[in-house]
Symmetry: D3
Subunit: 252 residues, 6 copies
Amino acid sequence: VSRAELVRWLNDFLRLDTYAGADLSMNGLQIEGTEVIRRVAASVDTSVKTLQHAADSGADLLLVHHGLFWGRPLPVTGPHRDRLRVALMADLNLYAAHLPLDAHPEVGNNAMIARALSLQDVQPFGRVDGHVIGLAGELPFEQSLQDFADRVQKLTGEICLVHGGGTPTVRRLGVTSGKGADRIAEAAALGLDTLLTGEPEHVHFNDAFEYGVNVVYAGHYETEVFGVRALAARIEEEFGLPWQFLHHPTGL
Amino acid sequence: VSRAELVRWLNDFLRLDTYAGADLSMNGLQIEGTEVIRRVAASVDTSVKTLQHAADSGADLLLVHHGLFWGRPLPVTGPHRDRLRVALMADLNLYAAHLPLDAHPEVGNNAMIARALSLQDVQPFGRVDGHVIGLAGELPFEQSLQDFADRVQKLTGEICLVHGGGTPTVRRLGVTSGKGADRIAEAAALGLDTLLTGEPEHVHFNDAFEYGVNVVYAGHYETEVFGVRALAARIEEEFGLPWQFLHHPTGL
Amino acid sequence: VSRAELVRWLNDFLRLDTYAGADLSMNGLQIEGTEVIRRVAASVDTSVKTLQHAADSGADLLLVHHGLFWGRPLPVTGPHRDRLRVALMADLNLYAAHLPLDAHPEVGNNAMIARALSLQDVQPFGRVDGHVIGLAGELPFEQSLQDFADRVQKLTGEICLVHGGGTPTVRRLGVTSGKGADRIAEAAALGLDTLLTGEPEHVHFNDAFEYGVNVVYAGHYETEVFGVRALAARIEEEFGLPWQFLHHPTGL
Amino acid sequence: VSRAELVRWLNDFLRLDTYAGADLSMNGLQIEGTEVIRRVAASVDTSVKTLQHAADSGADLLLVHHGLFWGRPLPVTGPHRDRLRVALMADLNLYAAHLPLDAHPEVGNNAMIARALSLQDVQPFGRVDGHVIGLAGELPFEQSLQDFADRVQKLTGEICLVHGGGTPTVRRLGVTSGKGADRIAEAAALGLDTLLTGEPEHVHFNDAFEYGVNVVYAGHYETEVFGVRALAARIEEEFGLPWQFLHHPTGL
Amino acid sequence: VSRAELVRWLNDFLRLDTYAGADLSMNGLQIEGTEVIRRVAASVDTSVKTLQHAADSGADLLLVHHGLFWGRPLPVTGPHRDRLRVALMADLNLYAAHLPLDAHPEVGNNAMIARALSLQDVQPFGRVDGHVIGLAGELPFEQSLQDFADRVQKLTGEICLVHGGGTPTVRRLGVTSGKGADRIAEAAALGLDTLLTGEPEHVHFNDAFEYGVNVVYAGHYETEVFGVRALAARIEEEFGLPWQFLHHPTGL
Amino acid sequence: VSRAELVRWLNDFLRLDTYAGADLSMNGLQIEGTEVIRRVAASVDTSVKTLQHAADSGADLLLVHHGLFWGRPLPVTGPHRDRLRVALMADLNLYAAHLPLDAHPEVGNNAMIARALSLQDVQPFGRVDGHVIGLAGELPFEQSLQDFADRVQKLTGEICLVHGGGTPTVRRLGVTSGKGADRIAEAAALGLDTLLTGEPEHVHFNDAFEYGVNVVYAGHYETEVFGVRALAARIEEEFGLPWQFLHHPTGL
């Protein structure tokens, strides 16, 4: 498929226009490479390593959740220069989707996790920069906090950090991928007993205990592998392009 | 000592006037309690638990690194109400010092760590909101990254997370307490081989490896116990007040 | 009634969601007290005196037009500390409604005054921070400026200050409670002959005479007793709670 | 004297360069009239009336405390057009000095009042937009609040509004001309027992009583006649120009 | 016609309300003159000369594209004073319409040019401060860039500057009057081969060649004579007022 | 010389630290190329053409006045991608100096022009974003405006555009390279009879005539060739590196 057509389809499918202004992550095509896309790679982050890996794997486009830009211009020096050089040398396209890929109802990180946990009666939850990106709902059956954490661990393959500030059993759950510890108050206000998110923060440590909400931290990286994989699969479905997930975990 | 006199001395000793505007943490007296201070408690964070602990221990003033306010007014509801209620019921004074206690040349978190590691030829390092709060310098002898991490672990009592992006041995070190992963680029520009800081962040994971700098993460909490303890000891020296450190680790 | 239910009803009745961002007065529950509300007090302003008066009168919730916060965090010291202490000691709830209570079509300060003066063909008037909070309309009969001022005086019980910049008789009137002298130009543009507002300001003295509009200043306090009283009465109607108005005039 | 020379002298004498950016009142020459200045008029405010009065009195330059502009461009319509028309028809120059004339050590409103009250050990007091414009000091002898208010009344010729929130006698006094009720907290922090200012504000009514500070409100207009008169006298001294004060009180 | 009625009609016809906030040019009546309008003058710019010319020609209202104010208050000195003085002396009204007169579908600069060039399938093009003010479309027949430039020259009477960065023939054209060189990227993204605009800018010189778009610069002044003339003609149609165009070209 | 050393020397020589924040042009190394610099190219602007020309000429570093960034991050697509690709492929370093190279006392555009015209008693003139970048002074002898324009034409090799708003002869001159038409008012206030600058702007056309100042427009490009050439020569002097000026005029 031509790059122009694929980019148009992605911009439309992810509804990038509704995120203009709100999201500093410059969603969309960040590096322009070959004009025809035959093979796709997907990765959570952008680094010299992931770009090189994508190029080595023969991909024409790398799809990422975290791109290169966060609101400020960067001189083309140091690691930023290395990243651009790898991509431009290999004529690799880079497409980034941040909040649009957290919040997407079909392939979004939170929609994927909610579906994997069979969450019911889901409603929007988790406001970030004027957009609600997460979901809240009911587990199909009540289970102990420990059993729930084990289930999450099976889903991600990594051990969770658990702050048991709430009830011993889990029933009403909020899900926000990535860095969501600042939404504990919002979870309490909604009457949720448990919040599942990615990365812990010292500054929000007491919130779990003072607001009386359980928090299960499953990892920033681990909660954000879902979106790019689902999006790549959706591209395959639409355009028949083969794809590959490049696993570069951070342990964070 | 009278509260008025102690607060005046603290404001002066910590040079709060030089942080006006730059620091949203509202440095200084945050809750007004009894007029006479006979006993001091010190803690890294402010929570219902630390305030209750301070009140129960008979302290008239709780000295903290992280206070109640971060730039926005808070309704007196939920945990914030519980915190204020505990302090006001017990007539407890709360005094907070954030950046001034990171950066202080005598009792600051970074000065204390640099001294414990016998750092030499120290220079300012680590810009935050227009203030340079950390230090950089030379270790008295070169040692392997693993040996250096073990030494840090002995200092804090907690295991470190090590990202070995730089040289196998440590010689030129930067120290920034708390959340300092965003200063890896600054460390590289200064030619440091290793950065010692507190809390890791997913978004800066690749920096260690792409800038070629070792990063030793010793914990946000663990790197910030030094300042409040040293400041309380300094108050004892000046005014003869007994004091106690309230240990409420977060593991983060 | 439970606090949660009453607060939900108030937020909804006053349509607080439409004022988010525009109003710095932190509309809504500002201090959390007892969970069950059995008795309500209403007051224009919040002060140590009004809070103590409310507590002494056995109220569980104090309803005010001017609350504690105006966009900036306050250290819990001095009078602010005294206010919080009185409320927290008495487990008193404090609920504030500023612009929403000026502008409310049923119980708003301006709607109440307009009704008391039998204003006809009313239309929105008086823009403040993006919200139109006042009303303009026709008096049922023309009367002299002096007679009109006497009628206002009967309504509020206080002498008015009159700046007769316009026609000798009053027919088309604008009403904006509180501090509304900055809306004289708007009144002139709408073709009103008279503006009724609360507090005069030196900086707008010449406007009455240069724009040719009569201005009747009936007092900031006196023009804002209507809303909280009407709202408390509305609560009684809805939930059967007894209430009391706490009269603490300022003479301004 | 030529307008150019007089304006240069005024800009320099009032140190306008130190107020750039901080003061929205566009200090300096606001309307350009005749090139030679033979006669000066002085007034607190700018209005159609004061401009016409100045022109009728044969003045070539009107000196005011409150000019035409406050940070925003104004269409040349309504009263603003009338003001410009009067001045331009009469070739009248208009020179405005706001904060520089509150704060001036020799001819400033506050320096003049402090001198009239024989204030001793004066220090800066009263921060406005980054500039300290008022003064604090000791009265030469303690007197009752009532006696002090009578003395102020003799100075201005108008009755004062007194809010007796502090001690019954006056000794340590702060002076800020104009609208200074928002500086009651600053007065309390400095240990002043009494604040003398101009215009009361409903929103600061409780401050006097809760901070325990007496406030004497002598009128916005009445506390600001001193500066323009003293400046005009100073011009006469320097350049030998006759001058006249145009008294247009507002009662506010 | 009365000024009030004509201004109301103009504000409505030009839909000024939709430009509030976005346009710093203070659209609408900028100087208030006589109350009855009998004769209209139209000019692209406002200067001492155009105002004097309008007054001398017996006009009661001068209609301009570029008015007096651009977001900041101006002291009434120098040329700004001269402009106001000429208008106020002659009781001349000044009405300005900037973006509303670029973008108007009937009398706008761009609509007029598009019609003169018989542009077909027109769509909005050329975003300025949140408003799309220009048009893009197809020429009825393909022609060489030189022939197209000649045609534009016939329309304006002035020689064009041509930067031939695109295809040798012109078919898909974008039109933005005035200073539109910063929209070359937008033209390329829309697939236009040629952009017709007014004033060149050094900073955008390379854009034509690097984006591969032809740019025909027909002059800032020359591309903006259309709107004020068409609007004046429309006023004549509506109110029967005679009018005259005041030609003061700048060559830019 | 090593890139690190040369960049350090340039940053220091041009005093980049004093322009931090004020200048959005990201002064300094914008693209990192080879580590050793053997040959330098200099150009006014950065374009695909100038970068390719520099690479083809064997330069290791291209020195420019206008770089790639102006305050906002750019996606690596279209011409921006082409520019980065050319430079990164060729391992070319790009160093930009905007305001620092207008204002430099030795090699700055304005200092060079002032010296070429033998300007005497020079003083700072021409404020841009908080920095004064130009110069004003006396010509050694009075000459007619036409003769002066001819002399400027000889200096730049291009015909000047002359707006004769001032006196027929030139004596007191202001010089601001680039886009300086917005400084005509400043020139008048300083008593200059003539302003020499680069690029005309329609919006400032009337200023020359209404402020009574002659303006000689010598071209944005033509007035900014001096700085980069002088800086390259200075580098040759310091480090013995050969250099070449790449002439890519814009005619603007």
